[in-house]
Structure formats: C-alpha cells, structure tokens
C-alpha cells in the first residue's frame, strides 16, 4: 500500500541546534516533494519544494534533501529558534499530473530556549 511516513514522536531540541525531520514514502513515484509548516488551529504554510531530479534545496536556514533511491526526504532547520516550534508536514505530488497532493501526518518540533 502507499504510505507517507513522518516520525510521529515530537522532536525536542535546544535553541541553536539543527533540527532534522524525516519523511519516508513507499509505493509512490513523486514528481516533487514539499514541506509545510502548520501552527495550531491554522492551515499549513508552504516552505520548500524539491523536484525528483534535485538532490538538495536551500532557503535561508532551511534545507531539504530528496533521495529517490532511499525514498526519503530530510528537512533541516539550522540555528533553530523557539519561533520554529510548530508541526512540519511533508507532501508529495505523484508523477503524471494527477493533481493529487498527499500529506504525511507531520512531526511536531519543540525548540527550547
């Protein structure tokens, strides 16, 4: 069956450290993969997109990697701050332009001062 899996356990780190979140998928052939941030009671907000032919993407303190062999994406936040505390969701769109956007269950990050 098709699955998108993120670590369901909350990730607690100290301010200033690098947070690394994992997204694994099975039985999908994604055209591209996205990462979103969601705060309580709000809709997700887009952060980064990486295509199947890209290995790495960066935006300020954020970095995403995409390994289609391992079927995994890693999301890094460097020099983390308490304001980075939120739930982070990965999402993928399958190849073939079906328009179907599927989300993982999200990982909650808590950055302690």
């Amino acid at each position: 069956s098709q699955k998108i899996e993120q670590n369901s356990e909350a990730l607690n780190i100290q301010e200033g450290k690098t947070a690394t979140l994992t997204c694994n998928y099975t039985n999908y052939s994604p055209a591209y993969l996205q990462w979103y941030r969601q705060d309580p009671g709000r809709g997700p907000v887009f952060l980064l997109l990486i295509r199947e032919n890209e290995k790495e993407k960066r935006k300020e303190r954020l970095k995403v990697t995409f390994d289609t062999t391992l079927k995994q994406s890693l999301f890094h936040i460097t020099a983390s701050q308490p304001a980075d505390s939120a739930t982070y969701l990965c999402a993928l769109v399958t190849a073939g332009n079906t328009g179907k956007l599927i989300f993982g269950q999200g990982t909650t990050l808590q950055v302690k001062p």
């Binding site: 709000r42 969701l89 956007l101």
Partner: protein
Amino acid sequence: SQTIHQWPATLVQPVGSPLSLECTVEGTSNPNLYWYRQAAGRGLQLLFYSVGIGQISSEVPQNLSASRPQDRQFILSSKKLLLSDSGFYLCAWSSYSTEAFFGQGTRLTVV
C-alpha cells in the same frame, strides 16, 4: 495576487443535519482544488480533489460529497452529518508544480 476564502471558521451542527462548506479562490484560473480533514493531533487526510469544473476525485469512502460548479468554487457537502464527521476542514488550491495555498479552515463539531 491570489487569495482563498473558506467559511465559516467554526460550525456546530446536530447529528443528521446537512452541511455545506464553501471555498472560493481569487486571482488564478483553472486551479487544482482540494478538501482535507484533520483530526486533532493528526495529519491531513485528503477527502476530494478537483483538476477542473465538474471533475471530482474522491479519496475516501465517506458521508461527504464535493462539487465544483465554477472554476474557482469548491463545495463540501453532506446530507446527514455523523458524529465522526467532526474535525478541522481545510480547503486548498494549487497549480501543478507549485505550492498549495490553504484557507483558514473550518472547525466542525457535530453534536
């Protein structure tokens, strides 16, 4: 610029009553449109998506239906709500190969 409107923000409905949630998008044409549901502390479950007027794909058999009567309008409906329909409903739009933009969400409580 593009905007997405979803209403109402909160809704309390009795079991067995009908439901209609509306979502409209401005500033873009022929968007992909989505309805998601999120249970407390859980991820986003894709309910319906649409790539064009009248084209609806249903992901999960359930007590809900969706319609797209106009290019930028997406409606989520139910004829008779169940307790299990309670949740946080999110509408979103995207164009292929770009990010998705979400509405503010509707917190539905069925009592």
